[in-house]
């Protein structure tokens, strides 16, 4: 019986105008997504290689000492799968420059700044399409599944046969779900085709698994939206009221809750202003100067310090390295506060299933804040690798005073640029992503079950006349 109802409902939906409008819109956006990301990825790869090439130029033919003031580059590579969930990657820093000399402040930055004349926008990726279009399509297709039939009077007729109500509900759910998912699947295949042919992006096995995971999550999310639509449909008596309610719910989920959470996070979890950070940095520097009683910055030069085996310089280096370490800790703490603010805003906005979907999807495929965190932590850890390397090569030179990491008091020997360690970025694997996304998945699943049960209960008590 479920099958019959499913087929009839499917036929109804497939012949409706709204289905074709949805199909058209989703396919258009998915095509656009494919084109945009193909071009973008190509440009990003070029920019990435150009930045790396410039850095390589800085490395070659230098002495160990001179390499202390070179800003060693940690660069976040372009990401093939940005079309799944961009996660605001184009706006956040993608590079970290750090010199080992403690007098040079490291900084995060963007290698290629976006066009400042354009408006802020959301990247057209699968997440955007699901969050904005597929969810709304699910609502539009589901809104009259029950109350529409009631209005037309056919529901009464159907119920006059000996069909259990859950059969009707499940049949309808399956049909509406299929119809809301079909545009997504067709569009997704289209965008994948564009990406692999026009964009020349080669997807590895792991990448394909992530794509599939993203697709499955979309199926789960759209099931939730369809059940929500059916629930409202079973509560209302007129189709227009049902759709208006769903529309308001959608605005609440997609606009109001994320917007309000962002603003609340600014207010409730404020981050220090640049001035406060500057004052903190100064305070640390002053503290060190006091600790070393003004002896923390005496540099006499390589020639003059030799007499007493660089006694002053050793103290200065110790003081400066200590200041650097403390300031660096404060800087990292500041960045972690920024991350915490975003986390807070995300947690708040997860009340909305659309935001929860976005968040879970980013966790799952390893995008957004998770990728930024991964990059930041690795970029910081890169310093340790560099320090270890330069310490080792410097120790090999008996003439060097070995005052780390002040170029003037280190070896004058040249190093082979190829032997200097380079920054390596490791994308988050699907297994790690699943671990991060677990809670989101559970909650989404739970929400779906609850809505389904609620829809069933509402439908049981529905007056079909």
């Amino acid at each position: 019986m479920v099958k019959l109802i499913f087929l009839r409902e499917l036929l109804d939906q497939l012949t409706s105008l709204r289905f074709y409008l949805s199909l058209l819109l989703v396919i258009f956006l998915m095509g656009l997504c494919g084109i945009i990301h193909s071009v973008k990825y190509r440009t990003e790869v070029q920019e990435y290689q150009a930045s790396l090439a410039r850095y390589e130029q800085h490395l070659s033919g230098r002495t160990i000492g001179a390499l202390m003031t070179v800003h060693h580059l940690a660069l976040k590579p372009p990401w093939k799968l940005a079309f799944l969930a961009d996660g605001g990657q184009t706006l956040v820093p993608n590079a970290y420059a750090q010199a080992l000399d403690a007098d040079w402040t490291p900084y995060f930055y963007r290698t290629h700044s976006p066009n400042f004349r354009l408006r802020p926008f959301e990247a057209i990726d699968w997440t955007f399409i699901v969050r904005v279009v597929v969810s709304l399509v699910a609502f539009i297709l589901a809104h009259d599944a029950l109350c529409g039939e009631k209005q037309r009077g056919t529901l009464r007729l159907t119920m006059s046969y000996s069909i259990p109500r859950w059969n009707v509900l499940v049949g309808k759910f399956l049909a509406v779900w299929t119809c809301s998912v079909v545009p997504f699947v067709v569009g997704a295949l289209l965008s994948l085709t564009i990406l692999t042919t026009y964009g020349g992006i080669e997807l590895s096995g792991e990448d394909l698994k992530k794509v599939t995971a993203c697709g499955l999550l979309t199926l789960l999310a759209s099931a939730l939206f369809v059940w929500l639509g059916l629930l409202v449909s079973a509560l209302m008596h007129r189709t227009t009221t049902s759709l208006v309610v769903l529309l308001l719910v959608w605005v609440g989920f997609g606009v109001v809750i994320p917007g309000a959470s962002g603003m609340l996070a600014h207010k409730l979890k404020p981050i220090p202003t640049p001035e406060e950070v500057g004052r903190r940095m100064q305070a640390i520097a002053d503290e060190i100067m006091r600790e070393y009683k003004g002896r923390g910055s005496g540099w006499r030069g390589r020639r003059w310090g030799r007499a007493d085996n660089y006694a002053w310089e050793r103290i200065s280096a110790e003081a400066q390295n200590k200041r650097y370490a403390r300031q660096e800790m404060a800087r990292r703490e500041f960045l972690r506060q920024k991350f915490a603010q975003v986390d807070f805003a995300r947690t708040l906005s997860s009340i909305s299933p659309t935001s929860l979907f976005q968040c879970t999807n980013e966790h799952l495929v390893g995008s957004g804040l998770d990728r930024d965190r991964q990059f930041v932590e690795r970029a910081w850890a890169f310093r340790g690798v560099l320090e270890h390397y330069f310490r080792t090569v410097d120790q090999m030179d008996p003439e060097s005073p070995h005052i780390f990491f002040f170029g003037e008091y280190m070896s004058d020997r040249k190093v082979d640029a190829r032997s200097i360690p380079r920054f390596r970025f490791q994308e988050i694997s699907l297994v790690e992503g699943l671990g991060e996304a677990l809670w989101g998945l559970l909650i989404l699943g739970l929400e779906m079950i609850i809505t389904a049960v609620a829809a069933y209960v509402a439908f049981l008590g529905y007056d079909v006349r």
Binding site: V39, N115, E122, T240, H266, V342
Partner: protein, 530 residues
């Protein structure tokens, strides 16, 4: 008859569930959004005052014209609280000097760059999304609904013209929409008046009026879209679905896709790096030309040499305790340096403009596609009235360039480039440093300077020397009197300018209104009411 109809429409709409929900949501969001925006404004304003004070203080301690490089600031725009636009996103400081034509404002980016996924909700966004939707929800069933219920037939059986009916529906909806809009504006103004540190001028109120009118025209347009859709469809459910698609496209899809397309597909041909390289080339060339003119006399250590030598950004230099003969030769060199600096500044600026040109082109593509969406036009209009558009940023930079020209004229009027005062604050009867040792300039040559001078230096003398420098730093006669220097002024845009600038946008919106109304009217005349 018309007034009855109008009142009926109003009452009917006011009592709907959708109206209540949308109004409540709007008011909550507006209060929250404007409150947070005003706090942000307050902190930016405070920063502006601190910085302005710092720069003003710095101007009171300028000794020579070469280090006179005022920094000008763009004050935060009070109406950014209602429509943020580009106001907090771009730089606000510009250093004015002869070596650079202002091309961009700098300044630390504030806030959390990782929060960019969470868009701030200002009044304009709320009107665009929530009230725009409400407008459609009020009219999607205006005619088709009455037809379904059969009341349309009844109404028109009275001696009521169709035009009156249509007008009544339209104005009834408009009157209802006026309510949440007006309340939002009142809330906004109250927060502006009592929470934000703003003193609103009459011109500001006019601009707020302009923003309000823009909102109103937009909402009227959305109403008319709803009416039109309700005429061309025969079932309310179809009408509603169509309206939702229109809204989705206008508010979310078109503007976003256009920007994404312009940003990522319109490749910027000239990369930043290439531009930086070309500029570095020009700077190198300039410096080579400058060096060529340098008299070897200036580099030779001698009794004529100014012992005190300080240099700063953009070739700022302060020399002291040299011999007049040295200064006379230096004058020629530095005036040449300044002249080349000014002419190369123009060249560098042209290269920068070349880089900007693809950015402008991408922005035009964005605008070209986005003009399909009234929501985009609304944003542009509101930004223009609020003074937070990208044009206002350009206007600020144009002001800076004009100011730089005034500044150069001022320097010329002071004969700054070709006088000692460019590089030294020593008086005309300057005594060269060797006179401290009882020597004459011609006695000290670079070969003999060590025997003659270094041998005589002792800690007491160093201390005296430091004291002299400190005294001279504080000497009022050595500080430039800048009371007649032109000052930079920049304010919010003038209402008349805004209207001229956004005449096209305004005209377009109004024309869309008229066309939609006319089309609706014609279609309604032929409408089968049964």
């Amino acid at each position: 008859m018309f007034s009855t109809l109008f009142r009926k429409e109003m009452h009917q709409n006011l009592l709907t569930f959708r109206f209540a929900i949308c109004t409540v949501v709007t008011l909550i969001l507006v209060t929250l959004g404007i409150f947070i925006a005003s706090e942000d404004y307050n902190s930016r304003l405070q920063l502006y005052h601190t910085r302005a004070q710092q720069h003003e203080n710095a101007l009171r301690r300028v000794h020579v014209y070469s280090s006179l490089q005022p920094t000008v600031l763009r004050p935060p725009e009070p109406l950014s609280i209602l429509c943020q636009g580009y106001d907090a996103k771009l730089g606000t400081e510009v250093n004015i000097n002869i070596y650079q034509v202002p091309f961009q404002a700098t300044g630390e980016r504030r806030g959390n760059e990782y929060m960019s996924v969470f868009r701030d909700l200002d009044l304009t966004v709320i009107v665009k999304v929530v009230l725009g939707l409400l407008a459609l929800l009020l009219t999607f069933d205006a005619l088709v609904g009455e037809k379904e219920e059969g009341t349309l037939k009844l109404i028109l059986s009275h001696s009521l013209s169709r035009a009156t009916l249509l007008l009544g529906k339209y104005l009834g909806g408009l009157a209802v929409l006026f309510l949440p809009l007006f309340m939002s504006l009142v809330i906004g103004s109250l927060i502006l008046l009592f929470h934000a540190h703003v003193k609103l001028t009459p011109s500001d109120w006019l601009r707020i009026g302009g923003i309000f009118v823009s909102y109103f025209i937009y909402l009227s347009l959305m109403l008319l879209v709803g009416i039109l859709v309700s005429i061309v469809t025969h079932r309310t459910s179809v009408s509603l679905v169509l309206c939702i698609f229109v809204w989705l496209l206008a508010v979310f899809i078109i503007p976003n896709s256009a920007t994404a397309f312009a940003s990522d597909v319109m490749a910027v041909e000239a990369s930043e790096q290439a531009i930086d390289d070309r500029i570095a080339q020009l700077v190198k060339e300039r410096d080579r030309l400058i060096r060529q003119q340098r008299d070897p006399f200036l580099d030779r250590v001698s009794g004529y040499f100014p012992l005190y030598n300080w240099s700063g950004d953009n070739n700022a230099i302060l020399l002291r305790y040299g011999d007049p003969q040295y200064y006379n030769i230096a004058t020629k060199y530095y005036s040449h340096q300044a002249e080349l600096g000014i002419s190369y500044a123009e060249k560098i600026f042209h290269v920068r403009q070349e880089y900007e040109w693809p950015l402008h082109r991408a922005a035009r593509v964005e605008a070209g596609i986005s003009y399909l969406s009234p929501a985009y036009i609304l944003e542009r209009l509101a930004e223009s009235f609020a003074g937070t558009s990208i044009d206002d940023y350009d206007r600020f930079l144009a002001h800076c360039r004009t100011y730089r020209n005034q500044f150069i004229t001022y320097l010329q009027s002071k004969d700054a480039f070709s006088s000692w005062r460019w590089f030294t604050d020593d008086p005309p009867n300057a005594r060269p440093w060797v006179s401290f040792f009882g020597l004459k300039p011609e006695d000290v040559t670079s070969e003999r300077v060590i025997q003659q001078v270094w041998a005589r230096i002792d800690p007491a003398m160093m201390e005296r020397w430091q004291k002299i420098i400190a005294q001279d730093n504080e000497d009022p006669a050595r500080i430039l009197d800048l009371s007649d220097m032109p000052r930079f002024s920049y304010g919010s845009p003038d209402v008349r300018d805004i209207i001229t600038r956004s005449a096209i946008d305004l005209g377009l919106m109004l024309a869309m209104n008229v066309v939609l109304f006319a089309v609706s009217f014609v279609l309604f005349l032929r409408y089968d009411v049964r």
